[in-house]
């Protein structure tokens, strides 16, 4: 099965391994040659694996790839018609359904899916070559999941762009408050509190910070967070409870270390910082006054529909 003169990503018996992967990928059916397939695998391993990866680890990685979907995606990116027929048979309806689910509205979902089709097909050209988003798929996860993520990214990016272009009139209609010409004087936050908080948060693992941010900032349910982290819901509940309590203890310890008495520290933590002016421009990059993208976009679209 190996073509003459093929530069394989592996030596000797690696050619057999490559041929087996190629057979599994059905690349020939999609118009992909063995040489082309090998080139794709080399590109993927270069992108995903460090340079000092051993041959056996590389093999294990390649075995874990979804080579059939990878071959299909790359053949579509190259414009093979047969590949597109298969792609449309498998994913056309699913793409519309996913887009409708993400946008929570059929018309917006269809618009989102249609715009993605153009990117997947590769209507844009770079140096005379078609540029298709499918060329960035590496086969590590499923193609359907990848399409879902790409749609989600496109949706979030669009909403972010639309938010920047929202007019002042729309802002006032949506109930956003504008600062008065002469604001009332606000209390400064004790820098010791900020420092103790930063120290306590820095001591948390990325998973813990992610859980806290998802639960307390985005108001995600325990079930949603559990699905993202692939654990049981009860595990998330226990961990969050434990985290909140340990953070409280860590803050008290930090504040007492900085010279406050325990009573002062407890009182300080009870202060409502929403009435406190902080140096937000230097410290914050994102606002948290508005609801999450998907809910707000759905509300805005519903209002447009009524109008």
């Amino acid at each position: 099965m190996a073509e003459a003169g093929v530069q394989s990503s592996m030596e000797g018996s690696g050619l057999e391994f490559l041929a087996a992967l190629y057979g599994k990928s059905r690349g020939a059916e999609f118009g992909l040659s063995l040489d082309g397939f090998d080139h794709i695998l080399q590109e993927v391993t270069k992108k995903c694996l460090p340079a000092d990866t051993s041959a056996s680890e590389r093999q294990q990685f390649l075995v874990s790839l979804r080579v059939e979907e990878l071959a299909l995606a790359r053949a579509c990116a190259a414009g093979h018609e047969r590949a597109w027929e298969v792609f449309l048979t498998r994913y056309r309806e699913k793409l519309y359904d996913i887009a409708t689910y993400i946008a929570r509205e059929e018309s917006t979902g269809r618009e989102l899916a249609d715009s993605l089709y153009a990117d997947l097909y590769g209507t844009a050209l770079r140096d005379g070559q078609r540029v298709s988003k499918l060329a960035s798929y590496t086969g590590r996860g499923s193609l359907e999941g990848w399409l879902r993520t790409v749609l989600a990214q496109e949706y979030v990016n669009r909403y972010r762009r639309q938010r920047r272009l929202v007019s002042l009139d729309e802002e006032s209609e949506q109930g956003v408050q504008f600062t008065a010409a002469t604001p009332e004087p606000a209390k400064e936050v004790d820098p010791r509190i900020e420092a103790a908080t930063d120290e306590a948060l820095a001591g948390l693992s990325p998973t813990d910070r992610f859980m806290l941010a998802s639960y307390y900032l985005e108001s995600r349910t325990l079930a949603e967070i559990a699905r993202i982290l692939h654990v049981h819901e009860s595990t998330i509940s226990r961990k969050l409870d434990k985290l909140a309590k340990s953070l409280h203890k860590a803050l008290l310890a930090g504040l007492t270390r900085s010279g406050m008495s325990r009573r002062q520290a407890e009182e300080a933590l009870e202060v409502d910082v929403r009435d406190v002016r902080l140096n937000l421009r230097d410290r914050l990059m994102q606002e948290n006054a508005h609801p999450p993208f998907s809910k707000k976009k759905a509300e805005a679209s519903a209002e447009e529909g009524k109008g």
């Binding site: 960035s136 590590r140 993520t149 985005e218 409280h248 202060v271 910082v273 990059m285 994102q286």
Partner: protein
């Protein structure tokens, strides 16, 4: 859940000046949990501080129906707590089991009473015609009458067990199928297994194919048709258009839409997974179920028209269902004795009759009568 001090919430919102975000490929790999620990931690580091990417991850999760029972965010204890629900579940199980046992015993006692009553009737009948001492000349006539009485007794004996369980579990043996068709049982049993109006229409159009389908017992499973020894099997029969048993066709009941299960009244959606299995959605794509058709075949092509669906795959595997996948018939196109055995990579059907099948060896097989006869190009 314990509350966080507001200063902590404020600081959690703080975002570093993120220039780069993980690619869709990496995020998807994270969502599907295929990253190694190091990569996973890197993604989590980013997600911990990037609200946009957290939103993307949440939107990237496959649609999932959450059970209503679960931990809630309410800090106050609700009466719907796990211990209460657990004991409620146990109580519900006890009630259900008790009801089932009671109903079972009631039905058994009723059937016993019925049998006893029937036997009592027969005994009375026997007593009425009990012969006195008769001359020998009349004995033969009485013997005949006794024989007819015993025949009547047999008729009144408890009916043999019906074969309903076998319908849902295994194909019907030819002799059993004949017995059922004679008694008219086939009509009601086929109806109860969910025959569809589409099948009735397809029967009118292509009796051979649908006759074969009527004889398939297991919904959703493809079975080779078992024909009587006097008629060819559907495998060969469909290809050459040879006649099949009319008896089974006569037994097939007319189907109407009212018999459709509610789930199948809407036109289902179809797709093929990457491992070659056929999947069906009855809720506009929200959820998908794998439909077992043939364990040996890897399917790569499908064509669907309303409830009529064709799937083709490896080594000439070609299957047809005209009732949205409830029943399947294997179709083996043959031309001049040559069987289609190459991998099928394309199936197109403009309607229930006109279809084209393409293979990996660049063959094109065409039918104009719903798969009964084929031409090869």
């Amino acid at each position: 859940m314990a509350e966080l001090p507001k200063i902590v919430v404020q600081r959690l919102q703080r975002n570093t000046n993120l220039q780069s975000h993980p690619e869709a490929d990496l995020i998807n790999a994270f969502v599907e949990d295929v990253l190694n620990q190091q990569e996973r931690n890197q993604v989590l580091e980013h997600l911990a501080v990037c609200r946009d990417c957290r939103e993307i991850v949440a939107l990237s999760l496959p649609e999932h129906i959450h059970p209503n029972i679960g931990l809630t965010r309410s800090a106050n204890a609700s009466w719907i707590s796990w211990p209460v629900l657990r004991w409620a579940g146990v109580a519900a199980c006890v009630v259900v089991v008790g009801t089932a046992v009671t109903l079972h015993y009631e039905s058994r006692s009723k059937s016993r009473e019925l049998v006893a009553a029937e036997r009592a009737e027969v005994v009375n009948l026997d007593k009425k015609v009990a012969p006195p001492a008769l001359p020998a000349a009349q004995e033969s006539a009485e013997a005949k009458q006794q024989h007819s009485l015993s025949t009547a007794h047999n008729k009144l004996a408890p009916a043999p067990k019906r074969l309903n369980p076998s319908l849902s579990a295994a194909p019907i043996a030819p002799e059993t199928r004949d017995a059922l068709s004679q008694s008219g049982q086939a009509a009601s049993d086929l109806q109860s297994s969910g025959s569809l109006e589409a099948r009735a229409q397809a029967e009118a159009a292509s009796p051979t194919l649908d006759t074969a389908m009527n004889e398939l017992a297991v919904p959703g499973r493809a079975k080779e048709v078992e024909q009587e020894s006097t008629t060819p099997t559907a495998k060969a029969g469909i290809s050459g258009g040879l006649p099949v048993s009319k008896k089974a066709a006569a037994a097939a009941p007319p189907v109407n839409k009212a018999m459709l299960s509610p789930a199948l009244r809407a036109v289902p959606k179809w797709t093929l997974s990457s491992d070659g299995s056929l999947q069906r959605s009855l809720d506009a794509g929200k959820t998908w179920e794998t439909i077992p058709v043939d364990n040996q075949a890897t399917f790569r092509a499908l064509a669907a028209n309303q409830f009529d669906i064709w799937v083709g795959g490896s080594k000439g595997a070609l299957y047809h269902s005209s009732d949205a996948g409830e029943h399947w018939a294997q179709v083996q196109p043959t031309v001049n004795g040559e069987l289609l055995s190459a991998d099928i990579i394309g199936v197109e059907f403009a309607d229930s009759q006109h279809g084209i099948v393409n293979t990996s060896s660049h063959e094109t097989w065409i039918t104009e009568d719903g798969g009964q006869n084929w031409q090869k190009k």
